[in-house]
């Protein structure tokens, strides 16, 4: 066993052992461990197989930048793949599995892919499976043959199929100052802003505040850095104006200083307490953002740099100091900068032997030399690692190296080591600043991209700005806090830091060019040679490089690989790195759960719209259905009835005697003002200014492009007063349409529109006996044919409540719509029911309403589908020639009057079976019932009046096909059969019945 737990040290709680399972084997860790630290403490260094080549891989980092150690977590019956082991806090019973291996992690069959290396180099898929077919092993057909095997062999974890049973939640938050990152810089910024009385949110992705203070081994304010951080955290926690969010990653920076964050609320617990979500999505609107997101360490690229046992130096330091874990017994260090020396000293102090410090630089700083002395080893300056040996690391090969020319010389010699820690310099974590806008700026001394000039309200602090020392973190943090508050004088004392005076600038060395596979992107198995191949083949822009090689893609988004990849491309092109540029960072900064994005905000804030008669329907055992936000009765089923039997009975009752239907959901808009009539002439295709007071008219609206938009009746209640009705679905859109024209196009018109949908309750009373029902209950007005002709309006009372009655018909029967104030809705409805009792009045739902309208050939949203014109629907008679209207200019363009357009017809099932909405109509069907579509069914029902299954359809040519036969083709529902195309006016085409 090489990796192991140190005898002391770390911030873990050795009194709290925790048992967990990895690949079926049970291990013990301590409270405070991540899965990665606990596995290392148990000597587990092989944790995964690589993406393409199935090479054995170990733990490479200690944080969210982890490219290798991705595992699948099994929790609550759900498997969640691709979670970095470095970000999983262990809990009792944690069960995790390694990925992309078969049959086992130790022995993986697909590791033979390594032998076929050239086959999987960059561009392999494009070259092999796309483009011209030359020979048998090329082209799309070959891809279809290979896909299954390749998908199985190359990849990350496997997602589960189970439904996720846990809860997710969304929160909105507002603050004056949002501090991202709670390292020394973030803590100082938050303290400064909080003391100035600002509302502060401090977000930290780790469970513990302090960031680098938890592993730097330095002293701040005369205390150990961890203790200083603890005190600061306690101070901030005590303040009312500070909200601290731990385990919270700010992952998106959007316009208007709106930031997105994910809080992992219960991932670290064996089970979520009742009512507590797993993840909480935060949408934070911040006055100013302090970005104190730190820096991410880069690896060096050299052959064998992916072997288990190779790890970033900063990560190793973190394991030693924060978790009391040694990643190896005999550790070699390979670096181009001073920071790795601190790691060497930390590892030595924790109990490991440092066997070599290999530094590409010829000269190093006195501080680094002092740390090397602490580590008990003289550094090998001017040297480089050229290879590694062992399934798990046993040896590193070392050679003389000239950092100025990149040349190796002399013979390689082995150094025995079970762990190699590597540092290639540090890259500020500028992701959020890049998302906020602006191009990152290359800094030649730090060999890193620095954040752009802010074009939103943010201030940078600490290592994020390229200021890598703790003293700078504290001072820039305080300054950032001050700047965020807009105050001049600081209220916070700057603590002293005791730390070695390291040289922050690395040597400009990214790659050691020696024989063997040297990985740039460990997660996607992209090698330095792949980058050069991309260059040779012309994919030289960073965006092309990324897409051709997949460098920087996948779950880690190239956090460790972006800069080395760019450096290698820059070298190949003979350009400086700043000329090659970098890709723009996009949200999310690190992976987030889809559950948190789909969390409960929408249905929580969506109202249920209930009509005033809702309770009556429910009491009457109506089966309710949702129509948009509305709940409407679908059928009033009798015991034992099917849906079809129920609506057929209801519809037949309407045609035989009388029925009643709740139409309160129709959109209703009061249109008032001296110019109201003229406005309606613009809005509707037909004329409304000639409509007498006390009459209603059916109207059709088009869009500007001449496509049908909505229909409904509009009632003239006074010279300057109309009540417009719209379809239920389009009520909001029509209102917006009217408001747009009044605000923007014709602001001079004196018209006011008000939505009154909720103010009126409506009941349609339809059937040959409808008038008799009204006569039995309406007072204050006559309702005979003379007083209340077709499309006439009267005012009266029912059971003491004022009502407005319009005689109009959707069902084709003698019918009335009775409107009253919403508060009287149920009262009036019940009075109508009582008056109708002698006639057997039957309440009917949406299904019967639909059947009645299909029998009459009336159109609804299924036919006014945003593609059909008035002529397609045979509503030409509504298009006024006397005046222009919205849509009149463009409605008769060539394409909109073409003979081949889909136009409205009726279809009758010839095999006595139902027709399905959405089914295609084909002229000729082949043996499988398939053919070229000439249109589709828009609505269908069983017609009690015709005693047949019928439907409306939009069919090429429309009327010209009346009397012909065609086929229904519905492979999705496996429904095929012959239909007859007829007029859409199935029933009472002359309209005799509505005149009673």
């Amino acid at each position: 066993m090489s990796a192991r737990r140190a005898t002391g040290g770390g911030l873990i709680d050795r009194s709290q052992p925790i048992r967990f399972t990895f690949d079926g084997k049970t291990y013990t860790g301590y409270a405070g461990d991540t899965l990665a630290s606990a596995l290392l403490a148990n000597g587990v260094t092989l944790v995964g197989r690589s993406f393409k080549y199935h090479r054995p891989r170990g733990i490479f980092t200690a944080g969210i930048d982890e490219p290798n150690a991705l595992v699948t977590v099994l929790k609550d019956g759900v498997r969640e793949p691709n979670i970095p082991a470095t970000g999983i806090e262990i809990y009792d019973g944690l069960t995790a599995e390694s990925q992309n291996r078969f049959p086992s992690l130790e022995f993986d069959l697909a590791a033979v892919n390594q032998l076929a290396g050239p086959l999987f180099s960059a561009g392999f898929y494009y070259k092999t499976f796309m483009g011209p077919v030359i020979g048998p092993l090329k082209g799309t057909r070959f891809w279809m043959f290979c896909e299954h095997f390749i998908r199985r062999a190359a990849g990350l974890g496997r997602a589960g199929y189970e439904k996720d049973p846990v809860r997710y939640e969304k929160m909105n938050a507002f603050c004056d100052v949002l501090v991202v990152g709670a390292g020394p810089a973030g803590l100082m910024a938050a303290t400064e802003a909080a003391k100035a009385g600002k509302r502060v949110i401090l977000a930290e992705q780790d469970p513990r505040l302090g960031g680098s203070a938890n592993w730097s081994g330095e002293e701040i304010g005369g205390k150990k850095a961890t203790e200083w951080a603890e005190v600061k955290a306690a101070e901030l926690t005590a303040l009312d104006n500070v909200q601290i969010l731990t385990r919270t990653t700010v992952w998106g920076y959007y316009d208007g200083n709106n930031l997105a964050a994910i809080e992992r609320v219960t991932d670290h617990l064996p089970a979520a307490p009742i009512g507590v979500p797993r993840h909480r999505h935060w949408s934070i609107r911040a006055g100013t953002v302090v970005l104190a997101t730190g820096a991410l360490e880069r690896p060096l690229v050299f052959p064998g740099n992916d072997r288990p046992g190779v790890m970033l130096a900063g990560a190793a330091e973190r394991y030693a100091r924060e978790f009391g874990v040694l990643p190896g017994e005999k550790i070699a260090v390979f670096t181009n900068n001073d920071s790795a020396y601190r790691a060497a000293a930390a590892l030595k102090e924790a109990g490991a032997a440092i066997v070599a410090i290999i530094d590409v630089r010829p000269e190093i700083s006195p501080a680094a030399r002092a740390l090397a002395e602490q580590a008990g080893i003289a550094p090998l300056t001017g040297h480089a690692v050229t290879d590694t040996v062992g399934k798990r690391l046993t040896k590193v090969m070392v050679q003389h190296f000239d950092a100025a020319t990149g040349r190796l010389s002399g013979d390689p010699r082995p150094i025995e080591a079970d762990c190699l820690v590597v540092s290639g310099g540090w890259s500020p974590a500028i992701h959020l600043a890049s998302q906020a806008g602006g191009a990152p700026v290359w800094d030649g001394k730090l060999q890193a991209f620095l954040p752009p000039e802010p074009n939103q309200k943010w201030v940078g602090a600490g290592a994020f700005t390229g200021a890598l020392t703790t003293a700078e973190a504290l001072s820039t943090g305080r300054d950032a806090g001050l700047k965020a508050t807009g105050k001049k004088a600081s209220r916070v004392k700057l603590p002293e830091v005791a730390a070695p005076a390291l040289d922050p600038f690395p040597a400009a060395v990214f790659e050691i060019k020696a024989k063997g596979k040297a990985f740039v992107d460990l997660q996607h198995d992209v090698t330095a040679d792949d980058v050069r191949l991309a260059h040779r083949e012309g994919f030289v822009s960073v965006e092309h490089l990324k897409r051709y090689t997949t460098l920087g893609m996948a779950t880690d988004q190239g956090k460790t690989s972006n800069v080395p990849g760019l450096a290698i491309m820059a070298d190949a092109r003979g350009l400086p790195i700043e000329k090659v540029g970098t890709t723009r960072f996009r949200p999310p900064f690190s992976p987030i759960s889809i559950g948190s994005l789909a969390a409960e905000r929408h249905w929580r804030f969506k109202p249920d719209r209930l009509t005033p008669m809702h309770d009556w329907h429910v009491k009457r055992r109506a089966r309710m259905m949702e129509a948009g936000l509305w709940h409407r009765p679908m059928i009033y089923g009798e015991p034992g009835e099917t849906v079809e039997q129920a609506y057929a009975r209801e519809a037949a009752a309407v045609r035989r005697s009388v029925g009643i239907c709740d139409v309160s959901t129709l959109g209703k808009i009061a249109v008032k003002g001296p110019d109201a009539a003229g406005f309606l002439d613009h809005v509707y295709t037909n004329v409304f200014s000639t409509l007498p007071v006390g009459k209603a008219r059916y109207g059709l609206m088009l869009r500007e492009d001449g496509i049908a938009f909505d229909d409904g009746t509009t009632w003239r209640l006074g010279e300057h007063e109309f009540l417009m009705t719209t379809t239920t679905a389009n009520a909001g859109k029509v209102m917006q349409h009217l408001e747009y024209y009044l605000d923007v196009v014709w602001p001079q018109l004196k018209v006011h529109v008000t939505s009154v949908t909720d103010q009126w309750a409506g009941a349609a009373v339809a059937g040959p006996n409808a008038r008799k029902v009204l006569q039995a209950c309406v007072t204050g007005t006559a309702v005979d044919n003379e007083t209340l002709p077709h499309m006439g309006i009267v005012h009266g009372e029912i059971a003491g409540a004022p009502v407005m009655i319009c005689r109009l018909s959707f069902s084709g029967e003698l019918a009335y719509e009775v409107y009253c104030g919403a508060g009287h809705g149920r009262h009036v409805w019940e009075a109508l029911m009582a008056a109708g009792e002698p006639f057997g009045i039957t309440p009917y739902g949406l299904e019967a309403l639909g059947a009645l309208r299909i029998e009459k050939g009336h159109v609804t949203g299924a036919e006014i589908d945003g593609r059909t014109t008035a002529r397609d629907l045979y509503l030409d008679w509504m298009l006024s020639k006397k005046k222009p209207f919205i849509g009149s200019a463009l409605m008769d363009r060539e394409g909109q009057i073409d003979w081949s357009r889909l136009r409205l017809v009726g279809v009758i099932s010839l095999d006595g079976r139902p027709l399905g909405g959405g089914a295609h109509i084909v002229e000729k069907a082949d043996g499988n019932g398939l053919g070229t579509s000439i249109g589709h069914v828009t609505a269908s029902c069983y017609s009690p009046a015709l005693q047949k299954y019928i439907g409306l359809a939009l069919v090429r040519g429309g009327k010209a096909r009346h009397g012909t036969r065609a086929f229904l083709s519905d492979p999705l529902r496996k429904r095929f059969g012959q239909v007859e195309i007829v007029s859409h006016h199935f029933f009472d085409p002359e309209g005799k019945r509505l005149h009673g």
Binding site: P747, P884, A889
Partner: protein
């Protein structure tokens, strides 16, 4: 994105509906100039930088606003009511 509604104050984008390009001009209703109609209904420049557009505060006062927005930065440069009468002191009462 925050849009400062002259009635309601700064409000989140989610409260607004985009109502299209505010640089287009609707031809006279009786016009038969097809090019003018195509320009009004279909043809849109896609400028990089300041752009005049209509936004309705549909989740608030429902007024249509003329918003000048920078399409690069989403900065809101100016906001006024689309209904000119509302921009006068008299109109606001």
């Amino acid at each position: 994105m925050l849009i400062p509604c002259p009635h309601c104050g700064p409000r989140d984008l989610a409260e607004f509906s985009y109502q299209g390009d505010a640089t287009r001009v609707r031809p006279d209703p009786a016009s038969t100039d097809m090019k003018a109609w195509y320009d009004y209904v279909y043809n849109r420049p896609n400028p990089s930088g300041p752009h005049r557009e209509y936004w309705q505060h549909s989740g608030g006062c429902r007024a249509h606003l003329v918003v000048v927005r920078d399409t690069l930065s989403h900065e809101i440069i100016s906001v006024a009511f689309a209904h000119a009468g509302l921009n006068t002191a008299e109109g606001r009462q």
